[in-house]
Amino acid sequence: MADRQTSSPQLAARTPAQELLDALGPITGFHDSSSLGAFGMPSGAMTEDMLASAATATVATRFGPLEKVHAFWFAGMSCDGCSVAVTGATNPSVESMMLGAHPGLPRVILHHPVLNMESGPHYLRPAEEAIEGTLDAPYVVILEGSIADEVVAHASGGYWSATGEEPWGADGELRPVSSTEWVARLAPNAAAMIAIGTCATWGGVPSAAGNPTGAMSLMDFLGKDYRSVLGVPVVNVPGCPPIGDNFTETVAAVLYFLQGFGPLPEFDELGRPAWLFGETVHRRCVRGAYYEEGTFAHEFGDPECLVEIGCWGPVVNCNITSRGAIKGLGGCMNAGGACIGCTMPGFPDKFTPFYKRPPGSLASTTVSRLVGSVIRPLRKFSNDNLNREVRWDRQGASPSAFSREKTEPSALADVGHKFYDKMRRAGDTARNDADVWGKRPDEAPSGGSPRIRS
């Protein structure tokens, strides 16, 4: 198996997806839907039909050609954390997407094992229709979790990760169908293939060194030449877990574009939404200024920059410090967690052992310590001055009882501040000599209420 995990995709004649389909052979049919009865259909209707009355928009408010889109959510080698993250999203939320509850948003018919009412073969019927080519609307496939090397498991008659059964065994026997096989069969006619989370986008933890399953990413599986029917390569929304809003926003952006009113969403060279992953997380880190000033956390829980206790933020593409994890709250470094690069193709093995400073940070922390040793005292100096009302400067005393211990600035500091004020006011047009004729000429020179006239 080691060979299967290290052989170069450039040399392979076939993609892993083609290899798997070749090993499995052609399929002949599907569940005989007439014999299924109501088994697994306790509400007597598919989720799609149950929600239809609440979710269907008329042409007048649809703002575009799409009335509905099917979204098949498959879990490969996943922890379901991406599903959980998406249920936390609110921009837009998953329930509002399923109900088509935003103007212009087509109804998303989500086939998700955690949300749907129907179980068993009925649950998989729409996926069968998609393969047959009889589905009534375009579909996208969303993969959470990495793709297992099912060729290996198949050779021993089993599977690593399965979703449902189909009569695809010898003589039409039912056999478990791996999630990987569903993905391979659905990919050619999909409008888009979307990988959510670091497992599906880059392999993630299931593909870490020493893994027994040959786990890989969706891109690795479908190969460089894969294009959806709309001509789109695999779209990747990474994160372990991803931020729920990053995912729902990407899907919404694509749908708004297809509806004709949204701009073309931009994706970077790895298929990531460029507006979300274009920056390193360090650039918008709430602790960034500590790095600039050369002050660093040494104990867990310290408020300063976390780089010396293991933060990889300066070299990691992620937006959690600005977007937050859920409803704008949280964010790794916001709370005190050092970045371990969970959005990155190199995760986890290029970031371990954890809780250890990235060696590359040595150069930049040395520089920022140096710069910081000059900058910090200067800033402190100005900050002290700005913490005083102008009135206190005039009166030469601060009335704050909290500051009883604090001495007034020294004569030297005063000179410094005066000099600083001069620089600040250079070019201040308030100093030009135009006559201020709109107010009383005997106004108090320092402002405030007019002098009491006798």
Partner: protein, 633 residues
């Protein structure tokens, strides 16, 4: 004397020894549990019935939806008698996290193992931290433990409503009742809810309509409250479900008055909601039991529960195995084992040494060793104990007689025990060892919980040990556990304020440099005992020369979804399904939905990142039974 099956005795000082004179004490042919019906008998019975009766269906529900992960449940159903004759629970996913962890630096275990489950975020990360701390002898400062408790209480605040309203709730909703149990609907329309003044639904029909998926108000409110609790979690952990703040020896949260206040403000909204939640999940069983008493048996199984306890006493927890019985009993939820309704132990060492994991019917090679004949205190442990077990995956064909699942079969004293968040209530209620609290007390047969005032007035509620464990009691228990966990969150928040008042700010024992130096070079074994949204969670760690040489995770759903063991005892899901009467309307056999089985299975809150395979095959039903459930396929 807590062991019935294992040949383990205790001396006067409470130390365990193996009973003398038994050459191979842990051999499966020697220490045998009492088994009601073995596999051969069960199969013969089915064959006899099939011969006389054409109404037997062999079905595989794959996937079972509205659970977390991949589970399939295979059933053999007698539609004439309304019984499930047989059931096989299949976890259909393997990822190899234990295998990936082996050979790594122990510092990797927290963030790698966290990825074992994204449904209850943080529980694996914490459990791994406990295992590492024990192996390396690092005791977290009190504030570190308090932050962990706050995090994990809020985590339950997300987990319990997610299950009750998104996963299980729809099974009791108007949309399902009108279709699968039409006879109940007129009753529901006229049944006045006793708790109307709390939840506001005048009739059961109104309440059921509010449970409708996506459009019902209870569904939507449940989803919102899962978000609110996740907001509380990420204030402390940075993100959800995989926390970024857990470190060996504590946490790395930068705790400020702002974090405490934000946690506090959100928690305040939860107590009013908890009152509504209890009112809903008290009224649902009342209605169903009254409508048809057979509902008492949906998902029924004996009261056999296990739990290692949850949420530590920040002053008692010292990260040692030596003192684990003392600090274990001080947890907010008491560790313990209950067999047939009787509490047999509350000692973590007993819980640990009675544990074994079998793979007869799982896609793994036999993997027991005798590397560690005893625990670090000299108590004997089995070759099947996680410290002696290895993970050797072996995918293969599904065969009900041989191997059919990726789940293993954990057993305690070779008995089939169940794990659940409600097990915490049960064990804590019976043990009467919960810490002194204004809000939480244990009476020996119930838990008394005081709900503090919110916009609604304060109220004391009581959860009683149910007479019969079934699907309804699991759901009710989960609702009370929601309140229990949030009260632990409140107590922990107050503890954090207290420590802040004392000027305490230290949240971790070591800094990263000290941590690196603390990694021991000799061989160590340890165990993290923790909990998840579904109860029990353990990580067993072996390390040597500073690296992980074995890592074994036992999750609650491994226990509950377990297959047959070497003696043919079905796992908890399997047993619960076989005890479930088919109550749904069967006037037309084609209309058989298997809702009663689904209610039974979902009440456990399966979290496999696993599947229940029940398939309705095409063609002759009897032929399928012969080829499938009796012959293996």
């Amino acid at each position: 004397m807590c062991f019935k099956t294992l040949p383990v005795e205790f001396d006067d000082r409470g130390r365990a020894t193996l009973r003398g004179g038994i050459p191979n004490p842990y051999d499966v042919t020697i220490a045998k549990p009492d088994v009601g019906m073995d596999e051969t008998e069960r199969r013969e019975r089915i064959e006899r019935l099939v011969a006389r009766n054409g109404h037997i269906k062999d079905l595989n529900m794959d996937p079972v939806t509205r659970i977390a992960g991949a589970l399939a449940v295979h059933v053999t159903a007698d539609l004439d008698k309304g019984q499930y004759l047989d059931s096989h629970s299949q976890a259909t996913l393997f990822r190899g996290y234990e295998v990936i962890l082996m050979g790594r630096d122990p510092r990797d275990a927290i963030f790698v193992s966290s990825r074992a489950c994204g449904v209850c975020g943080g529980v694996h990360a914490h459990c791994a931290a406990y295992a590492i701390e024990q192996a390396m002898g690092i005791k977290p400062p009190p504030l570190g433990t308090v932050v962990r408790n706050m995090t994990e209480a809020a985590e339950m605040g997300y987990d319990n409503p997610l299950h009750l309203y998104l996963l299980a709730g729809p099974d009791y909703s108007e949309s399902v009742i009108r279709s699968s149990n039409p006879e109940l609907w007129p009753k529901a329309e006229s049944w006045a809810c006793p708790n109307v003044d709390i939840h506001g639904f005048r009739t059961m029909a109104e309440l059921m309509t509010a449970l409708n998926p996506l459009t019902g108000s209870l569904y939507r409110e449940g989803l919102e409250f899962t978000r609110l609790s996740r907001e509380m979690v990420v204030i402390l952990t940075g993100k959800y479900p995989h926390p970024q703040n857990v470190v060996p020896g504590g946490v790395s949260t930068t705790l400020t008055l702002q974090s405490l206040n934000e946690y506090h403000s959100k928690l305040g909204k939860i107590f009013d909601y908890a009152q509504r939640m209890l009112a809903v999940w008290d009224d649902i069983p009342a209605f169903f039991y009254e409508a048809d008493e057979r509902y008492q048996y949906v998902g029924h199984r004996p009261t056999n529960h296990i739990d290692p306890g949850y949420w530590d006493d920040p002053y008692a927890y010292d990260a040692t195995y030596e003192n684990c019985n003392a600090w274990g009993e001080k947890r907010w939820s008491t560790p313990g084992v209950v067999l047939d309704g009787k509490l047999v132990t509350t000692r973590l060492t007993d819980i640990n040494i009675g544990l074994e994991e079998f793979v007869e019917h799982s896609y793994y090679e036999e993997s027991q060793t005798s590397r560690f004949p005893t625990d670090p205190l000299g108590n004997p442990i089995s070759p099947y104990h996680p410290w002696n077990k290895r993970t050797l995956p072996m995918p293969g064909a599904r065969d009900w007689k041989e191997k059919y699942t990726w789940s293993t079969a954990p057993r305690w004293d070779r008995q089939v025990v169940e794990a659940g968040c409600y097990s915490r209530l049960l064990i804590s209620a019976l043990a009467q060892k919960t810490p002194t609290s204004d809000f939480i007390s244990s009476t020996g047969s119930s838990m008394r919980l005081l709900i503090p005032k919110g916009e609604r007035g304060e109220r004391e509620v009581e959860w009683h040990v149910p007479e019969r464990w079934n699907a309804f009691e699991r759901n009710r228990g989960r609702a009370y556990h929601y309140l229990f966990s949030q009260l632990v969150g409140l107590e922990s928040l107050f503890e954090a304020y207290k420590l802040f008042k004392q000027g305490e700010r230290k949240v971790a024992a070591l800094n990263p440099e000290e941590l690196e130096k603390a990694i021991p070079q000799d061989e160590r074994v340890s165990v993290g005992w923790w909990g998840a949204g579904r109860g029990w969670l353990t990580h067993h760690l072996v390390m040597d020369k500073g690296k992980i040489t074995n890592y074994q995770i036992v999750t609650p759903s491994t226990i509950n979804a377990s297959p047959r063991d070497p003696w043919g005892q079905p796992g908890p899901y399997e047993e619960a399904v076989m005890n479930t009467p088919i109550i749904e309307d069967l006037s037309d056999p084609a209309g058989f939905t298997s809702i009663d089985m689904l209610r039974a299975i979902r009440s456990f809150d399966p979290c496999m990142p696993c599947t229940t395979h029940a398939h309705t095959g095409a063609g002759e039903i009897v032929r399928e039974v012969n080829t499938c459930s009796c012959g293996g396929d």
